[in-house]
């Protein structure tokens, strides 16, 4: 079992490397053609897409590209699935993401021009030349349409959701079919479901209220875990390492905590019992701040862990191309392999911690203090 997992991991690591190489060539080729084709090349392209970039800068750019959410699903060299771009900018604009690869990277839709910023991968409204302005901090100042595109990350969320639905509804059906015994691929996940119930939900929320929160805890655990694992595949997706995703997840935890909280929870925030009355307003302030810091920490923790994991892993794979010799490359490969194993652990650990802390917050929200003065 372990041996097989190691084999698969080796293949994945090798494939990731080949993917990086392919992407490098691809980018190179693309920038060469675009720079030749158009005279009024955007400043964005001038900044990033020139031949005089060193290998190190190319690797940096590649890592950045990998971490970004993109319009279009880039698999490997020359294989890219276009995805629909949906913009709301004083009217609906729908076109295929493959249009960004035509011409100079500027797409005209209903009389407006759009281009992708290389800074953050978002779409901005530009003029016909595709020029994107930057302020002194390097942030884009062009008008930004609201981007409802099915991006790579949205696509992966859909895939993961579909996978989860098939897996778990199959597991659910197998119980009634087999007389209470799990069957099919879902049965490997049954112990995890039981673990979440017995070791995360019940100890933190309590026997009385835990049932209400089980669907959320299970969904969020498997959602984060699966997406983390997808992030380790060479598909180059970085869903859980995207700030918008983690903000959304933490916000859901925060909303559920707030709206299912019992009287005791609010009492402990605004008028802490067992504390001198003069101190209570200050404590209320701190507690109130705490309720906001908690989801913020959830957001940042998941984001930073996955983001940093990808950066480190990609950087070490990139080292192989910098060294270009057997010793350095070999060592980098071994290091990348070891880090992949570590990331496998981190993928599960971060899902676990997110679920655990969510359960902890829910537990605090429904906790009933029987001995008020004991605090």
């Amino acid at each position: 079992m372990l041996k097989r997992a190691l084999h698969i991991l080796t293949i994945i690591t090798l494939f990731s490397i080949s993917n990086l190489v392919a992407q490098e060539h691809h980018e190179e080729a693309k920038h060469e053609t675009t720079s030749h084709q158009t005279e009024n090349h955007s400043s964005e392209h001038n900044q990033h897409g020139e031949e005089n970039l060193s290998l190190k800068d190319k690797i940096k750019k590649d890592i950045k590209h990998h971490l970004q959410d993109t319009h279009g699903f880039h698999i490997t060299k020359g294989i890219e699935f276009p995805l629909p771009v949906i913009l709301w900018d004083e009217g609906l604009h729908i076109f295929s993401s493959s249009k960004f690869h035509e011409g100079n990277g500027v797409v005209e839709s209903n009389g407006k021009y759009y281009a992708i910023s290389h800074g953050n991968g978002h779409i901005y409204r530009t003029d016909a030349s595709g020029k994107i302005e930057h302020n002194e901090k390097g942030f884009e100042t062009n008008k930004k349409p609201i981007d409802f595109s099915i991006t790579k990350n949205v696509f992966m969320i859909m895939i993961t959701g579909l996978l989860m639905f098939l897996l778990f509804s199959g597991l659910a059906k197998s119980y009634s079919k087999n007389g209470g015994i799990a069957k099919g691929p879902g049965r490997f996940l049954e112990p995890i479901i039981l673990y979440i119930r017995d070791d995360i939900a019940i100890p933190n929320i309590g026997e009385k209220h835990y049932k209400k929160y089980m669907p959320y805890l299970l969904t969020i655990f498997f959602f984060i875990w699966f997406l983390n694992l997808f992030g380790l595949t060479p598909l180059g997706v970085n869903v859980t390492g995207n700030i918008a995703i983690t903000v959304a997840l933490a916000l859901l935890t925060y909303l559920i905590t707030t709206f299912t909280a019992k009287k005791d929870y609010w009492k402990h925030i605004f008028w802490m019992p067992g504390v001198p009355v003069l101190l209570r307003p200050f404590l209320a302030l701190i507690e109130l701040l705490g309720t906001i810091i908690k989801p913020f920490a959830l957001t940042i923790r998941l984001y930073a862990n996955m983001f940093a994991g990808h950066v480190v892993l990609m950087s070490i794979i990139g080292l192989i191309f910098l060294y270009k010799n057997l010793v350095g490359g070999g060592l980098s490969f071994l290091l990348a392999f070891a880090l992949s194993l570590l990331e496998l652990l981190v993928a599960a650990l971060q899902a676990y911690i997110f679920t655990m802390l969510s359960a902890l917050y829910f537990g605090a929200a429904v906790e009933e203090h029987e001995h008020e003065e004991a605090h």
Binding site: D199, P203, I293, F296, A297, L298, I300, R301, A304, N305, L349, Y352, I353, M356, L357, L360
Partner: protein, 63 residues
């Protein structure tokens, strides 16, 4: 990235590392003393480490 923010980031990482290291060490001690409570200790350790980590990341991003 300015030099003060880099130094600040370093300090944050040192602080968070020390904190998490101490939690991990104490948890090891506790597990060695009471192996039967290892499950509970691990949970508590992870939560404490996660909280410190959260503060560390928040500070890192703020710097």
């Amino acid at each position: 990235m300015t030099i003060p923010s880099i130094i600040g980031g370093g300090l944050i990482v040192i602080g968070a590392g020390l904190g998490i290291g101490k939690i991990g060490g104490s948890a090891m001690d506790a597990i060695a003393r009471q192996p039967e409570a290892s499950g509970k200790i691990q949970t508590a350790m992870l939560i404490a480490a996660a909280l410190i980590e959260g503060i560390g990341f928040a500070a890192l991003f703020a710097s």
